[in-house]
């Protein structure tokens, strides 16, 4: 063991310099040509900027709501609810979300609510909804903003992001971008 | 013919003895050798304690009757396992005893300081010399140092034809218990009393003194590992059930544990090992260690002597081919008289063939006028000098060629062609000369044993390479090798060639077996991984080998290989069966444990067993009775089929693996139907 101790220590130092240091610095270098120099993708609206991929909290009836977040949309402390599928407390919470949603969206039937609107995301920062998740909110927003439902529906339709190459994955909308577009309507 | 050594599996006196032994073997000190069954015994004791606890007023452990039933079933499980082992032992011992009977106390005529003193055979020690005359039973194993005798060895081999044993050479060994039929021999004792091969073999069929074989040790480790896993599984079930707020009685833990550990193979393991030795003994092979029988199953190469193994006895003369211009009947007559002085079987067969062709010894042939030249190994020829000065010689091709060449005579071309033709047909040519002039060729042929090709075919399918060892020239050897279907041959073999061949194979990582009888075979027998010495062979050969074949049957190696394979296969398949059984047992017991606290788990009760108690009882009963049900298989061994390893694996996986999963589902359900009538 002794004869291996010196090489082990020297090797650890070498590796540390290389895999913690040089590799990281090289990546930082590459990041300078990446979108927003590797500081996270942002959208800028009227001099304000938002992180495009990070869900924001929307509680106002005139905005599309994001999915429920177990960490209250804290982007400095991600996390899910970690509730088990049969946990009675959890099921009660889901029921409460259903009730709240129905109260704010009286025209919506329960069976029309997509699952993602009553379940918390994994990161607590899910920026997306399924198209159905947006459509069920159209009536409420139309009422709150006093705009025709058709206009909002077409807005949602325009912002639908197809699966990757039209082949892989899910169809979705970005809530933040949708809400920005909503504010630009009028 | 061989004596039939078949005893019924459950012979009454053997069963009685085995029953008695089953109880004696309950002694934990004895049982400790078998970790799996030892833990079952511990479980049994725990159940006994629980029963006493209930008698003392404990209320949470279920009814006394139920706990007592579990206790008895576990006890019976251990007894069944002991019984299997004891029965195998009893059968082996019975077999050995019948051999041993032949060497009961017999008077021995001890020769000491020139006087003969009659003592009991048991008083003979190594190095003593005794005398046997016609009618005497030979008192001990030994080696003839003087004289020749015909001996009846039927007591050992079952072969009724008497054999000849004589001092010097390779047939000098005599076995205690055999009977001298004629003549008188002087014999030196070669073994200490109690140390003969038979004594060693008897030790191999007694579990107490039996050394575990390497594969058995590995398998015991595997089984102990499984036992440990289930100790962990059952022990951790306790805190799990606390969390689940379930009370599990002790009997359920013990039952679950006993059902899960591989009791089937654990209970039958030593019986299988003993039965393997027993099978060897029944084949009239005395193994000096269990390991050698196991090794036999792994053999890659076996060396077989041509003569007596592949071909019947010796070569025989099959044709006379006179040279051009030589009268055929005169030639035959010359062959005949040249062979008179050749007492080898080959020489005799020439006389025989000549007689068959109507040639006889000339009438004016009187012994005074002639000189017979005897056959010797040095000259490799025999012959005759007639009164008129004619010199006739018959012998090996090169010996006669030399005689002709020395006299300045050429070797006729057509004779040379004839020689080649005979050789390439597997024959051996002998050349005859008259006054140093070549007059023709005699053809000798080997007769290949009927059925030997099929046996070699079978060996090849097992993956065993056969090598023929012969003194013949390469051409002849090649022909016979091809005809008999052996894979390789050693031609013009000297004793050390076997040794060289064995070493070469072993360096390639192969396991090699050979059979031999002569003293000059001893080094090779010792070098071989499995060396089978013939009982008729010299003491040195028997000492060097690790098995002794009482039948002196050179094809015995083939049987030995199969016995070795059977032994391993029986262990493997029963291990698979035993472990596969656990699946059903889980489905029987786990739902039963949680019937009250987690009723949902009842969906796992796929056998639809009546209630928790019958479910557990059924599983435990099944676990117990499967042991005696498999005793016949354990003792007889799983049949080996030379169909290639992959096919064999598929077959055994299907039968014992899938079967092992399915059988207990049916068995436990049936037992449950019966048990639920009573509970």
């Amino acid at each position: 063991m002794k004869s291996h101790l010196i090489p082990a220590i020297l090797l650890t130092i070498c590796c540390n310099i290389f895999f913690s240091g040089i590799y990281t610095v090289a990546m930082l270098g590459v990041a300078q040509i990446a979108p927003n120099q590797g500081k996270g993708e942002i959208v800028t609206v009227n001099g304000k900027y938002y992180y495009e991929n990070i869900a924001q909290k929307f509680t106002d009836d005139k905005y599309f709501w994001s999915r429920p977040s177990a960490v209250d949309y804290n982007a400095a402390g991600s996390g899910g609810s970690n509730k088990g599928p049969t946990n009675p407390d959890y099921l009660a919470q889901v029921q409460a979300r259903i009730d709240t949603f129905l109260a704010h969206n009286p025209s919506v039937k329960k069976s029309e609510i997509p699952a993602e609107l009553v379940t918390a995301s994994g990161s607590g920062q899910d920026p997306n909804l399924s198209p159905q998740g947006a459509f069920v909110q159209v009536a409420r927003i139309a009422t709150a903003r006093n705009i025709s439902e058709e206009k909002i529906t077409s807005l949602v339709n325009e912002s639908i992001e197809k699966p990757l190459l039209g082949l892989f994955g899910t169809t979705k909308v970005n809530v933040l971008k949708l809400n920005i577009a909503l504010d630009n309507l009028k | 013919m061989k004596r039939q050594r078949k005893t019924p599996l459950f012979q009454r006196d053997l069963v009685n003895e085995a029953l008695k032994q089953s109880f004696i073997k309950l002694n934990p000190k004895i049982l400790f050798r078998n970790p799996v069954m030892f833990t079952v015994e511990v479980g049994t004791v725990v159940m006994l304690a629980v029963c006493i606890w209930i008698l003392m007023g404990e209320r949470d452990q279920g009814s006394l009757a139920y706990n007592l039933s579990i206790f008895f079933i576990l006890l019976i499980t251990v007894l069944f396992a002991n019984f299997a082992e004891a029965l195998a032992e009893a059968r082996g011992k019975a077999q050995a005893d019948s051999l041993r009977k032949t060497r009961e106390e017999t008077p021995a005529k001890l020769l000491a300081n020139g006087t003969v003193k009659t003592i009991s055979s048991s008083q003979l020690t190594k190095g003593n010399i005794f005398i046997c005359e016609a009618g005497d039973i030979i008192p001990s194993d030994g080696e003839i140092i003087e004289g020749i005798a015909t001996i009846d060895e039927s007591a050992i081999t079952g072969e009724s034809a008497p054999v000849i044993r004589e001092s010097g050479g390779d047939k000098s060994s005599v076995t205690g218990g055999t009977k001298v039929l004629s003549d008188k021999i002087k014999v030196v004792v070669t073994t200490q009393p109690g140390e003969s091969f038979l004594d060693k073999m008897i030790a191999l069929v007694e579990n107490a003194s039996r050394q575990k074989t390497p594969n058995e040790i590995s398998l015991t480790i595997l089984l102990s590992g499984f036992t440990l896993i289930f100790i962990i599984v059952c022990a951790t079930l306790q805190p799990f059930s606390l969390y689940a707020k379930t009370h599990i009685p002790v009997s359920a833990y013990v039952s679950l544990f006993v059902c899960l550990i591989p009791t089937t193979i654990g209970g039958l393991l030593s019986a299988i090992g003993i039965a393997g030795m027993d099978r060897a003994l029944r084949a009239n092979v005395i193994a000096k260690s269990g390991k050698s029988v196991e090794t036999a199953g792994d053999l890659d190469t076996i060396l077989l002597d041509k003569t007596g193994t592949i071909t019947i006895g010796n070569r025989k003369a099959t044709g006379f081919y006179p040279a051009n211009g030589v009268n055929e009947s005169a030639f035959i007559q010359n062959c005949l008289i040249a062979s008179l002085a050749d007492e080898t079987p080959e020489g005799k067969s020439i006389v025989e063939l000549a007689n068959q062709k109507g040639t006889t010894i000339p009438v004016d042939f009187s012994k005074e006028k002639i000189t017979l030249i005897k056959f010797t190994a040095e000259t490799r020829s025999s012959g005759i000098n007639l009164s008129d000065g004619t010199r006739i010689r018959k012998g090996a091709f090169d010996a006669i060629k030399k005689i002709a060449a020395d006299a300045g005579n050429s070797f006729p071309k057509e004779t040379e062609d004839r020689l080649k033709e005979i050789s390439s047909n597997g024959g051996t040519p002998l050349v005859v000369s008259e006054n140093e002039r070549i007059i023709g060729v005699i053809e000798l042929q080997d007769i290949i044993k009927p059925g030997i090709q099929e046996r070699f075919q079978r060996l090849r399918k097992m993956g065993v390479k056969t090598v023929m060892v012969t003194g013949d020239n390469p051409l002849t050897a090649k022909y016979i090798a091809e005809k008999a279907g052996v894979d390789d041959f050693i031609a013009e073999a000297k004793p050390e060639d076997k040794m060289i061949y064995i070493r070469k194979e072993q360096q390639g990582g192969k396991l090699v077996a050979m059979m031999g009888d002569g003293t000059n075979d001893a080094p090779a027998l010792a070098q071989a991984d499995v060396g089978v010495a013939m009982n008729s062979g010299t003491a040195a050969a028997k000492e060097a080998g690790n098995m002794v074949d009482l039948d002196n049957d050179p094809t015995k190696l083939i049987e030995v290989v199969e016995i070795g394979k059977q032994l391993l296969m029986t262990r493997g398949t029963l291990t698979t069966f035993s472990i596969a059984n656990d699946v059903a047992k889980y489905f029987a017991i786990v739902p039963a444990l949680f019937i009250t606290s987690i009723p949902a788990l009842q969906s796992l009760n796929i056998m639809n067993l009546s209630n928790p108690q019958t479910a557990i009882l059924s599983a435990v009963i099944f676990n117990a009775i499967i042991i005696p049900l498999l005793i016949p298989l354990a003792l007889k061994g799983v049949a080996y089929r030379p169909i290639g390893a992959s096919k064999l694996l598929r077959r055994n996986l299907l039968v014992y693996g899938l079967g092992g999963v399915a059988v207990p589902f049916v068995g436990i359900k049936l037992i449950d139907l019966i048990v639920s009538l009573f509970v």
Binding site: T12, N53, K57 | S218, G572
Partner: protein, 563 residues
């Protein structure tokens, strides 16, 4: 067909294609043949060797290889403890995160050194950027050490009788620089260009559209995320791992990250085939692993896409699948696919919360970890599989009537003993510690450990120790695990479960390598056939099922059946 299904099938097919090519390359690296990266990396490797005073050509036997491995790991452990317990005041800490207390540091360092990456901290608040960089170092070198151990075993499996099995350091450095590093470069760059941060800036504060103030954690994430996936580490930069939009921004990055999870483990199986020139053997191993993988994957996919029946009962449409703990951009199929991939490979990164999987699809990841050899962790996955092969060879060998042999070497008592100890270790650690934890919670139901009651709570404990013992690192994260009990016991489990299962197979392979090589005959049990594959599969299924049936029955099975 559904685009979600097409998505996961494409991920898998792409992984296999890339793994096959990578396998060829790895075989070349291990056998010291020329590769196209030599001009760049030869000088780098030589620099490492020169500074560390290592002669890469001096060969070691199996014992010395293990001594080298253990020594270097001890150094890593001490170094890691030093950093974790002092990073609060050390540089590169813009968010002013604190140093770790001893128990948490022990857990974290063991976790990363052992390639587990069980995280009892949250990346945003629990470590400084310096801490993250050191963890990133461990993600490289622990993976490299695992691959080096596999290389030693590969070498020992050659057809010959040998004592010397190559130089451990040489395998180690080459695994790091020639396999992990180039791949990490590629993956990290892809991630950066899709929005994963790579910066030393601290938290950013933004005002939301509704006017709330929110903090957004950033950091040098892309570099770490790449190696966390490729080295089957799994320790994410952010708390919620690859479900966080910054860590895994879109479906494309999800594909790339998911491919990275099992790319090297599968490639190593192919590498074995190329290295030993026994392609059929590699296909047999791959076949068994894949069969097991699919047995876990297909039901999980179907269950997760089918949704949570309890919520369906409330009248909510579950056609979009079970969405609790999942992200819209991945959907239930890609989440279930990831859950199984990450658990069979001992990676442990997550893109959805396993605690919220439906009961049975929570069980399949556990089974994946309990087997821990279906592809498995880089290097160590194959080592675990090797143990199953040895056990299967033994039983199957007996069944065909020969002393068991593996690749021409007889398997005897000593090897069986080691194999059984290593096999026993996994159920022992998982069951005994879960038992202890169950007992404690039985005595102290007030402890705030379990995030869910009943069977699911039991599953949380079972999952935690299963994950620790499998060196996986994923969790039923509801478990309140940052307590001395969980930090210390999980640390111990990870430590034992990392090193013994490396020592065991290396020792067996080393002992076998020294034995005489026996050429095959028609009586030899061939290990590269489908029949033997079925045997190995049966051994794995039966042994694992028998070991864990009771525990699974009381956790996920009971929860499922009571639903």
């Amino acid at each position: 067909m559904n685009t979600e299904i097409i998505g996961v099938i494409s991920i898998y097919v792409l992984t296999l294609a890339l793994a096959y090519l990578l396998g060829k390359y790895i075989a070349k690296v291990f056998s010291g043949e020329k590769t196209f990266l030599d001009p760049v990396l030869n000088p780098l490797d030589n620099l490492f060797f020169r500074i560390s005073k290592i002669d890469p050509l001096s060969e070691m036997d199996w014992k010395e290889s293990l001594v080298a491995l253990l020594t270097v790991n001890i150094v890593w452990f001490l170094f890691g403890m030093l950093v974790m317990m002092n990073m609060g005041w050390l540089p590169l800490n813009p968010d002013e995160n604190p140093s770790m207390p001893a128990d948490q540091a022990f857990n974290t360092v063991v976790s990363f050194v052992s390639n587990t990456n069980l995280q009892h901290y949250s990346g945003e608040t629990g470590v400084s950027y310096l801490g993250q960089l050191i963890l990133q170092l461990f993600q490289f070198i622990s993976a490299g050490a695992g691959m080096a151990a596999a290389a030693v075993v590969f070498n020992a499996m050659k057809e010959r009788t040998a004592d010397k099995l190559g130089n451990f350091y040489n395998y180690f450095i080459k695994s790091c620089t020639r396999i992990l590093l180039p791949l990490s470069f590629i993956v990290a760059i892809i991630l950066m260009f899709n929005g994963t941060p790579m910066t030393f800036l601290g938290k950013d504060q933004v005002i939301t559209m509704q006017g709330d103030t929110m903090n957004v954690s950033r950091g040098p994430a892309a570099a770490m995320v790449a190696i966390k996936q490729l080295g089957t580490n799994g320790g994410g930069f952010y708390g919620a791992n690859s479900s966080v939009p910054f860590e895994n921004p879109n479906y494309f990055t999800n594909m790339i990250e998911n491919i990275s999870i099992d790319l090297i483990p599968i490639a190593l199986v192919f590498a074995l085939g190329f290295y030993l020139r026994r392609k059929k053997l590699a296909w047999m191993i791959f076949g068994v692993m894949t069969a097991g993988y699919l047995c876990l994957l297909i039901p999980t996919l179907s269950l997760e896409m089918g949704g949570n029946p309890m919520i369906a009962k409330m009248g909510i449409d579950q056609s979009s699948g079970s969405m609790e703990g999942k992200e819209i951009r991945f959907g239930p199929a890609a989440s279930a696919f990831w859950a199984i991939t990450t658990t069979v490979t001992s990676n442990g990164s997550v893109n959805s919360m396993h605690d919220s999987l439906t009961p049975l699809s929570g069980m399949f990841p556990m089974l994946g970890m309990q087997i821990n050899a279906l592809y498995g962790g880089v290097g160590v996955g194959f080592l675990n599989f090797y143990i199953f092969i040895i056990i299967a060879v033994f039983i199957a060998g007996l069944m065909v009537g020969r002393t068991p042999e593996f690749l021409g070497k007889k398997v005897e008592a000593k090897e069986m003993k080691i194999a059984m100890i290593i096999f026993l270790l996994h159920p022992l650690l998982i069951l005994v510690f879960t038992g202890l934890a169950s007992y404690i919670i039985h005595l102290h139901p007030e402890y705030p450990w379990l995030n869910n009651p009943g069977y699911h709570g039991f599953s949380e404990m079972l999952y935690e120790y299963t994950s620790s013992s499998a060196n996986n690192g994923s969790g039923f994260e509801g478990l309140g695990d940052n307590t001395p009990w969980w930090n210390v016991t999980c640390g111990i489990v990870m430590l034992i479960a990392r090193f013994l299962p490396i020592i065991g197979p290396v020792a067996i392979a080393g002992i076998l390598a020294k034995k005489k090589y026996i050429p095959e005959s028609s009586g030899t049990l061939r290990t590269d056939t489908a029949s033997f594959g079925i045997m190995v599969f049966a051994v794995i299924v039966i042994l694992v099922a028998l070991s864990f049936f009771t525990a699974l029955a009381l956790g996920p099975l009971a929860e499922y059946l009571s639903m």
